[in-house]
């Protein structure tokens, strides 16, 4: 696989990202010409040109003058350029959860780690750079991802990365975008072992963190005669959430679990982004009212088998009750498929999160979404790009192809939702990777 490996430094007034090989202002520009450019807002520029330098898009349009020092690639009017897809909560590169854990001496008092309380863990420190997903994701059009960790109730923090295979490690855009939370019980025999236990535990953690914060505050404010607070990385990691500087990235699917998150939010007062949210459409109005965005999963239900049964084949006789069962099943299937469309319709901000879904399923399921739900291609593209960028707080830097935006986009051989669409180039933060063409038999 060929690739151009060059790291640039990106400077914004409010943000500084350093990398190992940074040097300033000397890079030549690069450009694609004669390509079809699809922007996140649904516009298409045919025979367009896109120019970028130092990781930033400098020019885009139909009749654009290309700087003299730009290295130009000619798309011959057959290539399609899309804003880089953003995964709002991916588990790529996360260490796996340890299996067959031992029962603690006191199952009711297992300690933070064993209970699945690990908000201090950082993907940037634990990233497995040889993860296949990190090298495959760019081929599917992903250039940016908020990476979380696998685990239970509080698996760790969420860090935002540009995705570029092994180099991802050095492409950290922001540490601590949020903290992942789940209503997930501890493994094996340990507290909390139930949803209600997880909820109580979360409350207690907030109580403990509040007390610790208070003690730290007192300790700092008096000169003597006060016991030093005992450092606690776990509780301290929760401060940003308690102080509303970071949201919880709360992974929940069912309507009732979303209601449970609302309840916790009312009590504990945190900001929250719903991740996955397979039944979020059932709470769309309240999500809208609470201004809670959803990073939606596209892990769609399996289509009921009978829907694709061959009519010629021997089928069991369809009894009346079977017919009713099937009708209701189909209704449920269709409703679940409409999740994202319904949310968008209700005015909920919807981005995308793979959250453990296999990369190979992503393109497959996007096609199902397009065919079976009311989401059009444009809406799907927007969800994968601008909307996710908005939710992550990067609406002006990521998520679209426009002048001044970070140069993260993907060049496909045909519109990305079409069959046999392949990524030919991935430009991540201005760095171009060229992919080998996969043989057409595949």
């Amino acid at each position: 696989m060929k690739k151009t490996a060059r790291i640039t430094v990106l400077c914004f007034s409010f943000l500084m990202v350093c990398s190992l090989h940074g040097w300033a202002q000397s890079s030549p520009a690069e450009a694609f010409k004669n390509v079809t450019i699809h922007t996140a807002d649904g516009n298409t520029i045919k025979s367009g040109t896109i120019v970028w330098r130092n990781g930033v898009i400098t020019n885009i349009g139909k009749d654009v003058s290309i700087p003299f020092d730009a290295y130009v690639r000619d798309g011959g009017d057959s290539l399609h350029v899309y804003p880089g897809f953003i995964d709002g909560h991916a588990l790529w590169g996360s260490p796996d959860v340890e299996e067959n854990v031992e029962t603690p001496d006191e199952p009711g008092n297992p300690g933070y780690g064993r209970a699945g309380i690990q908000p201090e863990r950082k993907p940037s420190e634990l990233l497995q750079t040889d993860s296949k997903a990190l090298s495959e994701a760019p081929k599917k059009g992903f250039t940016t991802a908020a990476l979380g960790l696998k685990g239970q109730m509080l698996p760790g923090q969420v860090d935002l990365f540009f995705i570029n295979e092994k180099e991802t490690e050095d492409l950290l855009l922001k540490q601590g975008v949020g903290i992942t939370a789940q209503l997930e019980e501890a493994q094996g025999q340990a507290y909390p072992s139930t949803t209600m236990g997880v909820m109580s535990q979360l409350r207690q953690l907030f109580n403990d963190a509040e007390a610790l914060q208070q003690q730290e505050h007192y300790f700092a404010s008096v000169s003597s005669n006060y016991p030093a607070p005992k450092q606690n990385k776990v509780l301290e990691a929760l401060y940003p959430v308690m102080d509303n500087q970071q949201p919880f990235y709360f992974v929940v699917d069912t309507k009732e679990n979303i209601e449970r998150v609302f309840e916790l939010q009312d009590e504990l007062g945190f900001e929250v982004v719903i991740v996955s949210g397979k039944e979020a459409y059932k709470k769309s109005d309240e999500l809208k009212q609470r201004n809670i965005p959803v990073l939606a999963s596209i892990d769609l239900p399996e289509e009921p088998e009978w829907r694709s049964d061959d009519e010629d084949e021997d089928q069991p006789e369809i009894t009346e009750e079977m017919r009713i069962f099937r009708d209701r099943q189909e209704e449920a299937y269709k409703a679940d498929i409409q999740n994202i469309a319904k949310l968008i319709d209700s005015g909920v901000k919807v981005g995308f999160a793979s959250n453990g879904l296999e990369l190979s399923d992503i393109s497959k399921n996007l096609t199902v979404l397009q065919e079976e739900s009311d989401l059009g291609k444009e809406a799907i593209l927007r969800m994968l790009t601008q909307s996710t960028a908005d939710i992550l707080g990067y609406s002006n830097q990521l998520g679209n192809i426009a002048e001044g935006r970070i140069a993260s986009f993907t060049v496909f051989n045909k519109p990305f939702m079409e069959e046999k669409a392949q990524a030919l180039y991935s430009i991540t933060d201005g760095n171009l990777t060229e992919f080998e063409q996969e043989s057409s038999e595949e």
Binding site: E321, I324, F325, R328
Partner: protein, 446 residues
């Protein structure tokens, strides 16, 4: 050795304590335990007699002599030596028959050492419930004072769980209780369906497992058929033949493959029932009875056509979350309407005493009282080939009957007298004894 009274005196002298009083109370219980069953000549008079097989006789008399019913009717001369039991305003029924239980095989569910219904191994036609029936099980008196006089008790584990036994609920040994020591062999039908959300096998794995299980079962039976034929040939004409080696399991299968006792097949899901129906056609010489049959109402016609009797209950939650709430209650009625012979089988142990209420629900939800009565008496007797002596109040049949102060399907009503094999059973059970002891604890005790 000190006599009991001396011991008591010793205690009395030493201290007046709570222990003593408890002991005294315990003694009075002791006295009731020693109450014995009576056998002899009894005349139940002025009764409404539900004969089951010959309608209802108002103001009738039943004469019992030793183990038998000697006369039933309106105009019965009562010889003077008969002890009369006035049943005015009361009803008399044949003893109820629960056609599928584990009574006598298990004492306390959670105490494994008291559980004798589940032997290890997949194919155990040679293990017999009869062997492990505990005549002293506390559950037996508890059951019989509610009018249940006969049960099929069966082993439950593995594929061929073992031989079920038909016992009555009075006796000091399995031998005295057994009506038919080997009443059938219990087969747990291998399911071809996934179990539910907890079952994470793929469809292919499920199918493969089913086929393997079925093949093992068929192989086992065909070996048994071969063994039976070989032994029969040898027995008929042993000359010039070398005597085959004995095989206990195969030997135990002989009465099964010959069709002398039925295979009781536990099966519930619709597709499994259909599979069973198909399967039984491969063994025309054998006898089959279905048990459980919770999806039976879905395939009642098919079951009727195959001529398979069904052992069913009513007090369980619907099999599938999309079923109508009444299906368990209606299952016996729907099977009966299609022409299936149904009998009540609770599948229970300590609460087999609720068998009348299973039948009551069946009666209430479409089966009607007469058919429900049949299901808990004569049908079971017919299915297990003992209707010549059990299942109805008829002259010449065994005296298994009880007297109730009303419809025994009503949980509110009471059973006042029970006869098993002519024995007038003491109306005593642990539950009744504790009631008598504690209703009013009497003297001020702490």
């Amino acid at each position: 050795m000190m006599k009991d009274t001396e011991i008591i005196m010793k205690y009395l002298k030493s201290t007046i304590s709570a222990c003593l009083l408890v002991l005294l109370l315990g003694m009075s219980v002791e006295a009731q335990i020693t109450q014995k069953a009576e056998i002899g000549k009894f005349a139940i008079t002025n009764a409404t007699i539900y004969t089951v097989t010959n309608g209802v006789i108002e103001n009738g008399t039943v004469l019992i002599e030793n183990e038998q019913i000697v006369e039933v009717g309106n105009d019965v001369d009562i010889p003077s030596e008969y002890e009369q039991i006035d049943a005015s305003g009361k009803q008399v029924y044949p003893g109820f028959f629960d056609a599928g239980t584990q009574l006598g095989l298990q004492e306390i569910g959670a105490v494994a050492v008291t559980n004798d219904q589940a032997e290890l191994g997949d194919f155990n036609p040679h293990v017999r419930a009869f062997t492990a029936i505990n005549p002293s099980s506390a559950s037996i008196p508890v059951t019989r004072v509610n009018g249940v006089t006969h049960v099929i008790s069966m082993p439950v584990s593995g594929r061929l769980a073992g031989k079920a036994t038909l016992i009555d609920l009075y006796g000091y040994s399995p031998d005295s209780m057994a009506v038919t020591p080997n009443a059938g062999v219990h087969l747990n039908w291998p399911t071809s369906k996934k179990g539910g959300w907890w079952d994470d096998r793929t469809d292919e794995e499920v199918d493969k497992e089913y086929k393997e299980d079925l093949k093992k079962l068929n192989d086992f039976i065909s070996r048994a058929q071969f063994y039976n034929k070989m032994m029969t040939d040898f027995e008929n004409n042993p000359s010039n033949k070398e005597q085959p080696d004995m095989n206990k399991k195969m030997q135990a299968m002989r009465e099964v493959v010959k069709g002398e006792i039925p295979v009781i097949i536990s099966v519930d899901a619709k597709s499994d029932i259909l599979n069973v129906i198909d399967w039984t056609k491969d063994y025309p010489d054998m006898q089959f009875v279905l048990a459980g049959v919770r999806d039976g109402w879905r395939v009642a016609d098919e079951i009727a056509e195959a001529g398979l009797p069904c052992l069913v209950s009513t007090l369980y939650t619907p099999e599938r979350d999309y079923d109508n709430y009444q299906r368990p209650y209606q299952n016996p009625a729907k099977l009966h309407a299609a022409g299936v012979k149904v009998a009540i089988a609770t599948g229970g142990v300590e609460n087999v005493r609720n068998a009348p209420y299973h039948a009551g629900f069946a009666a209430s939800y479409g089966l009607g009282k007469q058919e429900a009565l049949n299901a808990i008496t004569i049908n079971a007797a017919e299915i297990f080939g003992v209707d010549d002596k059990l299942g109805s109040i008829e002259e010449g049949k065994q005296a298994n009957l009880f007297i109730a102060d009303g419809d025994p399907f009503e949980p509110m009503n009471h059973i006042t007298d029970v006869f098993i094999r002519g024995h007038k059973i003491p109306m005593v059970s642990r539950h009744i004894q504790l009631y008598q002891q504690y209703l009013d604890r009497g003297a001020k005790t702490n």
